[in-house]
Amino acid sequence: MAVTVLIPAPLRRFTNEQASVQVEAGTVSEALAKLDAQFPGIRDRICEPDGRLRRFVSVFVNGRDVRSLEGLDTPLREGDEVGIIPAMAGGR
């Protein structure tokens, strides 16, 4: 399944400033593995060493947060868009 991974500005230093990358993947987890194969180190910014999604990162499939879908096991279809963004948080 050819899918597009949208790279957020803070992670573009891993992708030679590319804003989107095409990969072949059947799940979100696989898409992140393929991304990491092309751009080593990027997955460590998104996932914990044990593979869980980092708490301050959100991953989206077609704009929906995978935490409300099947997490990193969320299946992908041809043409899907996988988005990634670090949290914007703070306060007081």
């Binding site: 914007m88 703070g90 306060g91």
Partner: protein, 165 residues
């Protein structure tokens, strides 16, 4: 320097006042140093307790998740994602994030500085309502934990400078 047309300045202050005592949050988009669009984003700090707890940034009021948004903000991820997509679709740049400090000064807190680490390339604006009569909006660059204030120039709609905050 950030050039902020007066209607956008007023929109940020009004957002802060409307949400108080909760913190408000959002994004600013534009071209170069000129802000052209304000995106208000929902504060979902009440759903992000674990995020603050794992960094030891949980305020005392955090024992009650409903009160967490009075001292923390966490931008709704789906809204944030849609806003960032829209900014790119409009051919604009993501220039800044903003949030309010309803009861404290317009200075980045330890929490602000920690989370800014993921967004070093944008400005961080803070609108303080500590003096309700005089909202105080300030902008900062936060890189590697170092905070530098950046001047905000509020411009009238014709583009002339009317106030240097």
């Amino acid at each position: 320097m950030i050039r902020l047309p007066r209607p956008h300045y007023e929109a940020i202050v009004a957002h802060a006042q409307r949400e108080a005592p909760r913190e408000c949050c959002g994004l600013l988009a534009g071209r170069g140093d000129l802000v052209e669009r304000v995106y208000q984003i929902a504060n979902r700090a009440d759903q992000a307790a674990d995020l603050f707890a794992e960094r030891d940034l949980m305020p005392r009021v955090g024992a009650d998740p409903a009160l967490l948004p009075t001292e923390r903000y966490f931008m709704d991820p789906e809204e944030l994602f849609r806003a960032l997509r829209d900014i790119e679709a409009q051919g604009l740049e993501h220039i800044a994030n903003y949030h309010s400090h309803p009861a404290t000064p317009a200075r980045p807190s330890r929490t602000d500085i920690e989370f800014a680490a993921y967004w070093p390339h944008v400005y961080h604006l803070i609108c303080s309502l500590a003096d309700p009569e005089r909202p105080d909006l300030r902008a900062f660059r936060i890189v590697d934990g170092q905070v530098t204030e950046v001047p905000i120039v509020v411009e009238d709609t014709s583009g002339g400078r009317v106030a240097n905050l």
